[in-house]
Protein backbone atom coordinates (compact mmCIF):
# COMPACT_ATOMS: atom_id res chain seq x y z
CA UNK A 1 0.00 0.00 0.00
CA UNK A 2 2.90 2.37 -0.42
CA UNK A 3 2.97 2.87 3.29
CA UNK A 4 5.43 4.41 5.65
CA UNK A 5 7.08 1.84 7.90
CA UNK A 6 5.74 1.69 11.44
CA UNK A 7 9.20 2.53 12.71
CA UNK A 8 9.40 5.87 10.95
CA UNK A 9 5.81 6.57 11.91
CA UNK A 10 6.76 5.95 15.54
CA UNK A 11 9.81 8.15 15.13
CA UNK A 12 7.71 11.10 13.99
CA UNK A 13 5.34 10.59 16.91
CA UNK A 14 8.24 10.46 19.36
CA UNK A 15 9.88 13.54 17.94
CA UNK A 16 6.57 15.36 18.08
CA UNK A 17 6.09 14.49 21.73
CA UNK A 18 9.66 15.51 22.53
CA UNK A 19 9.07 18.70 20.63
CA UNK A 20 6.50 19.81 23.21
CA UNK A 21 9.50 20.46 25.42
CA UNK A 22 12.16 21.19 22.83
CA UNK A 23 14.97 22.15 25.19
CA UNK A 24 14.61 19.33 27.68
CA UNK A 25 16.74 16.29 28.00
CA UNK A 26 14.68 13.24 27.01
CA UNK A 27 15.52 9.68 28.01
CA UNK A 28 14.30 6.60 26.21
CA UNK A 29 12.29 5.74 29.31
CA UNK A 30 10.39 9.02 29.51
CA UNK A 31 9.64 9.05 25.79
CA UNK A 32 8.39 5.47 26.05
CA UNK A 33 6.02 6.52 28.83
CA UNK A 34 4.68 9.49 26.91
CA UNK A 35 4.23 7.61 23.67
CA UNK A 36 3.00 4.28 24.92
CA UNK A 37 5.71 2.52 22.91
CA UNK A 38 7.96 -0.01 24.59
CA UNK A 39 11.34 1.03 25.94
CA UNK A 40 13.39 -1.25 23.66
CA UNK A 41 11.69 0.11 20.58
CA UNK A 42 12.12 3.70 21.67
CA UNK A 43 15.77 3.03 22.46
CA UNK A 44 16.34 1.63 19.01
CA UNK A 45 14.74 4.62 17.34
CA UNK A 46 16.53 7.18 19.52
CA UNK A 47 19.84 5.65 18.51
CA UNK A 48 18.94 6.00 14.85
CA UNK A 49 17.79 9.58 15.21
CA UNK A 50 20.95 10.40 17.09
CA UNK A 51 23.16 8.72 14.51
CA UNK A 52 21.44 10.73 11.82
CA UNK A 53 22.29 13.95 13.63
CA UNK A 54 18.77 14.98 14.54
CA UNK A 55 19.34 14.43 18.24
CA UNK A 56 22.38 14.91 20.45
CA UNK A 57 23.04 12.15 22.91
CA UNK A 58 24.68 12.12 26.32
CA UNK A 59 25.69 8.86 27.92
CA UNK A 60 25.78 7.90 31.54
CA UNK A 61 23.84 9.07 34.55
CA UNK A 62 21.51 11.95 33.68
CA UNK A 63 22.19 11.19 30.05
CA UNK A 64 19.60 11.24 27.31
CA UNK A 65 18.78 13.06 24.12
CA UNK A 66 18.24 16.69 23.18
CA UNK A 67 17.29 18.20 19.85
CA UNK A 68 20.34 18.83 17.71
CA UNK A 69 18.49 21.55 15.85
CA UNK A 70 15.35 23.62 16.02
CA UNK A 71 12.33 21.37 15.38
CA UNK A 72 11.26 23.86 12.72
CA UNK A 73 14.44 23.12 10.84
CA UNK A 74 13.82 19.38 10.92
CA UNK A 75 11.63 18.09 8.14
CA UNK A 76 9.70 14.86 8.00
CA UNK A 77 11.88 13.53 5.23
CA UNK A 78 14.91 13.68 7.54
CA UNK A 79 13.16 11.65 10.21
CA UNK A 80 11.99 9.03 7.75
CA UNK A 81 15.39 8.73 6.13
CA UNK A 82 17.04 8.44 9.54
CA UNK A 83 14.95 5.38 10.29
CA UNK A 84 14.20 3.78 6.93
CA UNK A 85 17.19 4.88 4.91
CA UNK A 86 17.06 6.88 1.69
CA UNK A 87 13.69 7.31 0.06
CA UNK A 88 13.79 5.08 -2.99
CA UNK A 89 10.44 4.36 -4.54
CA UNK A 90 11.74 1.53 -6.67
CA UNK A 91 14.50 -0.98 -6.17
CA UNK A 92 16.49 0.40 -9.08
CA UNK A 93 16.72 3.77 -7.30
CA UNK A 94 18.03 2.11 -4.14
CA UNK A 95 21.81 2.11 -4.37
CA UNK A 96 22.16 -0.58 -1.73
CA UNK A 97 20.36 -2.98 -4.06
CA UNK A 98 21.80 -4.23 -7.30
CA UNK A 99 19.52 -6.90 -8.66
CA UNK A 100 16.61 -6.13 -10.95
CA UNK A 101 14.77 -8.63 -13.08
CA UNK A 102 14.53 -6.26 -16.01
CA UNK A 103 17.88 -4.56 -15.59
CA UNK A 104 18.99 -2.76 -18.72
CA UNK A 105 15.92 -3.21 -20.90
CA UNK A 106 13.60 -1.70 -18.29
CA UNK A 107 11.51 1.00 -19.93
CA UNK A 108 10.59 2.80 -16.71
CA UNK A 109 13.98 3.10 -15.09
CA UNK A 110 14.71 6.66 -16.18
CA UNK A 111 11.33 8.10 -15.27
CA UNK A 112 11.11 6.98 -11.67
CA UNK A 113 13.59 9.48 -10.38
CA UNK A 114 11.19 12.26 -11.34
CA UNK A 115 8.49 10.76 -9.13
CA UNK A 116 10.97 9.93 -6.42
CA UNK A 117 12.14 13.52 -6.26
CA UNK A 118 8.56 14.75 -6.16
CA UNK A 119 7.76 12.54 -3.20
CA UNK A 120 10.91 13.54 -1.37
CA UNK A 121 10.12 17.21 -1.98
CA UNK A 122 6.64 16.69 -0.56
CA UNK A 123 8.09 15.16 2.58
CA UNK A 124 10.73 17.86 2.90
CA UNK A 125 8.08 20.55 2.78
CA UNK A 126 6.59 19.55 6.12
CA UNK A 127 8.59 20.37 9.24
CA UNK A 128 8.48 18.75 12.63
CA UNK A 129 7.44 22.16 13.94
CA UNK A 130 4.22 21.89 11.95
CA UNK A 131 3.44 18.65 13.72
CA UNK A 132 4.18 20.14 17.10
CA UNK A 133 2.44 23.46 16.74
CA UNK A 134 -1.19 22.35 17.15
CA UNK A 135 -0.08 20.94 20.49
CA UNK A 136 2.11 23.81 21.52
CA UNK A 137 2.26 26.99 19.42
CA UNK A 138 5.13 28.34 21.47
CA UNK A 139 7.67 25.76 20.49
CA UNK A 140 9.54 27.82 17.98
CA UNK A 141 9.63 30.92 20.11
CA UNK A 142 10.79 28.98 23.15
CA UNK A 143 13.56 27.25 21.29
CA UNK A 144 14.90 30.33 19.56
CA UNK A 145 14.66 32.57 22.63
CA UNK A 146 16.55 30.14 24.81
CA UNK A 147 19.13 29.47 22.19
CA UNK A 148 20.06 33.05 21.56
CA UNK A 149 22.58 33.02 24.38
CA UNK A 150 23.40 29.34 24.34
CA UNK A 151 25.30 26.80 22.32
CA UNK A 152 22.40 25.44 20.31
CA UNK A 153 23.44 25.00 16.73
CA UNK A 154 20.22 26.32 15.23
Amino acid sequence: MMKLSKMSDYAVVMMTLMGADPLANHTATTVAEKSGLTVPTVRKLMKMLSKAGLLNSTRGVNGGYTFAKNPNMINVSEIIEAVDGPIAMTTCLDRTQTTCVMDSHCPTKDRWHVINDAVRTALQAVTLGQFIEPTNPLVRVEFDEECKDNACNV
Copy 2:
Protein backbone atom coordinates in the same frame (compact mmCIF):
# COMPACT_ATOMS: atom_id res chain seq x y z
CA MET B 1 12.51 2.31 2.89
CA MET B 2 9.19 3.83 1.88
CA LYS B 3 9.23 1.77 -1.22
CA LEU B 4 6.69 0.99 -3.88
CA SER B 5 5.57 -2.61 -3.84
CA LYS B 6 7.11 -4.82 -6.51
CA MET B 7 3.65 -5.52 -7.85
CA SER B 8 2.83 -1.92 -8.64
CA ASP B 9 6.32 -1.46 -10.01
CA TYR B 10 5.68 -4.41 -12.34
CA ALA B 11 2.31 -2.96 -13.27
CA VAL B 12 3.87 0.30 -14.41
CA VAL B 13 6.45 -1.59 -16.45
CA MET B 14 3.76 -3.71 -18.07
CA MET B 15 1.58 -0.74 -18.89
CA THR B 16 4.57 1.05 -20.35
CA LEU B 17 5.40 -1.88 -22.59
CA MET B 18 1.77 -2.18 -23.69
CA GLY B 19 1.75 1.54 -24.31
CA ALA B 20 4.27 1.12 -27.11
CA ASP B 21 1.34 -0.28 -29.08
CA PRO B 22 -1.56 1.52 -27.43
CA LEU B 23 -4.35 0.30 -29.68
CA ALA B 24 -3.38 -3.35 -29.83
CA ASN B 25 -5.00 -6.20 -27.98
CA HIS B 26 -2.54 -7.52 -25.39
CA THR B 27 -2.77 -10.96 -23.80
CA ALA B 28 -1.21 -11.93 -20.50
CA THR B 29 1.10 -14.26 -22.41
CA THR B 30 2.48 -11.65 -24.77
CA VAL B 31 3.00 -9.11 -22.00
CA ALA B 32 4.78 -11.77 -19.95
CA GLU B 33 7.12 -12.40 -22.86
CA LYS B 34 7.87 -8.73 -23.39
CA SER B 35 8.42 -7.99 -19.72
CA GLY B 36 10.22 -11.10 -18.61
CA LEU B 37 7.69 -11.55 -15.81
CA THR B 38 5.96 -14.89 -15.34
CA VAL B 39 2.54 -15.51 -16.87
CA PRO B 40 0.70 -16.07 -13.55
CA THR B 41 2.02 -12.79 -12.16
CA VAL B 42 1.10 -10.87 -15.29
CA ARG B 43 -2.34 -12.45 -15.27
CA LYS B 44 -2.93 -11.37 -11.70
CA LEU B 45 -1.89 -7.82 -12.43
CA MET B 46 -3.90 -7.57 -15.65
CA LYS B 47 -7.00 -8.59 -13.72
CA MET B 48 -6.39 -5.83 -11.20
CA LEU B 49 -5.77 -3.19 -13.85
CA SER B 50 -8.91 -4.28 -15.65
CA LYS B 51 -10.98 -4.24 -12.47
CA ALA B 52 -9.76 -0.72 -11.81
CA GLY B 53 -10.99 0.39 -15.19
CA LEU B 54 -7.61 1.13 -16.74
CA LEU B 55 -7.86 -1.75 -19.20
CA ASN B 56 -10.81 -3.27 -21.03
CA SER B 57 -10.87 -7.02 -21.12
CA THR B 58 -12.27 -9.49 -23.63
CA ARG B 59 -12.65 -13.13 -22.71
CA GLY B 60 -12.41 -16.20 -24.84
CA VAL B 61 -10.43 -16.93 -27.96
CA ASN B 62 -8.65 -13.84 -29.29
CA GLY B 63 -9.44 -12.20 -25.99
CA GLY B 64 -7.07 -9.98 -24.07
CA TYR B 65 -6.74 -6.44 -22.86
CA THR B 66 -6.83 -3.03 -24.49
CA PHE B 67 -6.33 0.39 -22.96
CA ALA B 68 -9.57 1.75 -21.55
CA LYS B 69 -8.28 5.28 -21.97
CA ASN B 70 -5.50 7.22 -23.60
CA PRO B 71 -2.21 6.41 -21.83
CA ASN B 72 -1.70 10.13 -21.47
CA MET B 73 -4.83 10.29 -19.38
CA ILE B 74 -3.63 7.53 -17.07
CA ASN B 75 -1.43 8.69 -14.22
CA VAL B 76 0.97 6.67 -12.15
CA SER B 77 -1.15 7.09 -9.07
CA GLU B 78 -4.02 5.25 -10.75
CA ILE B 79 -1.83 2.29 -11.59
CA ILE B 80 -0.41 2.10 -8.08
CA GLU B 81 -3.82 2.36 -6.47
CA ALA B 82 -5.21 -0.30 -8.80
CA VAL B 83 -2.62 -2.75 -7.51
CA ASP B 84 -1.82 -1.67 -3.96
CA GLY B 85 -5.05 -0.01 -2.96
CA PRO B 86 -5.42 3.58 -1.79
CA ILE B 87 -2.27 5.47 -1.02
CA ALA B 88 -2.18 5.75 2.76
CA MET B 89 1.15 6.74 4.22
CA THR B 90 0.19 5.80 7.73
CA THR B 91 -2.12 3.16 9.12
CA CYS B 92 -4.46 5.75 10.58
CA LEU B 93 -5.13 7.08 7.07
CA ASP B 94 -5.97 3.61 5.82
CA ARG B 95 -9.69 3.15 6.19
CA THR B 96 -9.47 -0.61 5.93
CA GLN B 97 -7.44 -0.62 9.15
CA THR B 98 -8.86 0.31 12.51
CA THR B 99 -6.28 -0.46 15.14
CA CYS B 100 -3.67 2.06 16.21
CA VAL B 101 -1.61 1.84 19.37
CA MET B 102 -1.90 5.51 20.02
CA ASP B 103 -5.43 6.04 18.80
CA SER B 104 -6.96 9.22 20.17
CA HIS B 105 -3.97 10.73 21.93
CA CYS B 106 -1.78 10.56 18.82
CA PRO B 107 -0.24 13.97 18.21
CA THR B 108 0.55 13.41 14.55
CA LYS B 109 -2.76 12.04 13.32
CA ASP B 110 -4.10 15.29 11.89
CA ARG B 111 -0.97 16.32 10.08
CA TRP B 112 -0.35 13.21 8.05
CA HIS B 113 -3.12 13.84 5.59
CA VAL B 114 -1.22 16.91 4.39
CA ILE B 115 1.77 14.77 3.52
CA ASN B 116 -0.39 12.03 2.13
CA ASP B 117 -2.08 14.45 -0.25
CA ALA B 118 1.26 15.86 -1.32
CA VAL B 119 2.56 12.42 -2.20
CA ARG B 120 -0.59 11.51 -4.07
CA THR B 121 -0.41 14.76 -6.00
CA ALA B 122 3.17 14.01 -6.95
CA LEU B 123 2.16 10.62 -8.28
CA GLN B 124 -0.84 12.02 -10.11
CA ALA B 125 1.34 14.53 -11.90
CA VAL B 126 3.16 11.87 -13.91
CA THR B 127 1.27 10.18 -16.71
CA LEU B 128 1.84 6.81 -18.26
CA GLY B 129 2.40 8.69 -21.50
CA GLN B 130 5.49 10.27 -20.00
CA PHE B 131 6.87 6.81 -19.28
CA ILE B 132 6.12 5.67 -22.79
CA GLU B 133 7.29 8.69 -24.73
CA PRO B 134 11.06 8.15 -24.55
CA THR B 135 10.39 4.80 -26.18
CA ASN B 136 7.80 5.95 -28.64
CA PRO B 137 7.03 9.67 -29.05
CA LEU B 138 4.11 8.90 -31.33
CA VAL B 139 1.93 7.21 -28.79
CA ARG B 140 -0.37 10.09 -28.10
CA VAL B 141 -0.84 11.01 -31.72
CA GLU B 142 -1.50 7.43 -32.73
CA PHE B 143 -4.07 6.87 -30.03
CA ASP B 144 -5.97 10.07 -30.61
CA GLU B 145 -5.93 9.80 -34.40
CA GLU B 146 -7.30 6.30 -34.39
CA CYS B 147 -9.90 7.11 -31.79
CA LYS B 148 -11.35 10.09 -33.56
CA ASP B 149 -13.72 7.88 -35.52
CA ASN B 150 -13.94 5.00 -33.10
CA ALA B 151 -15.51 4.06 -29.84
CA CYS B 152 -12.53 4.78 -27.62
CA ASN B 153 -13.71 6.57 -24.52
CA VAL B 154 -10.80 8.99 -24.37
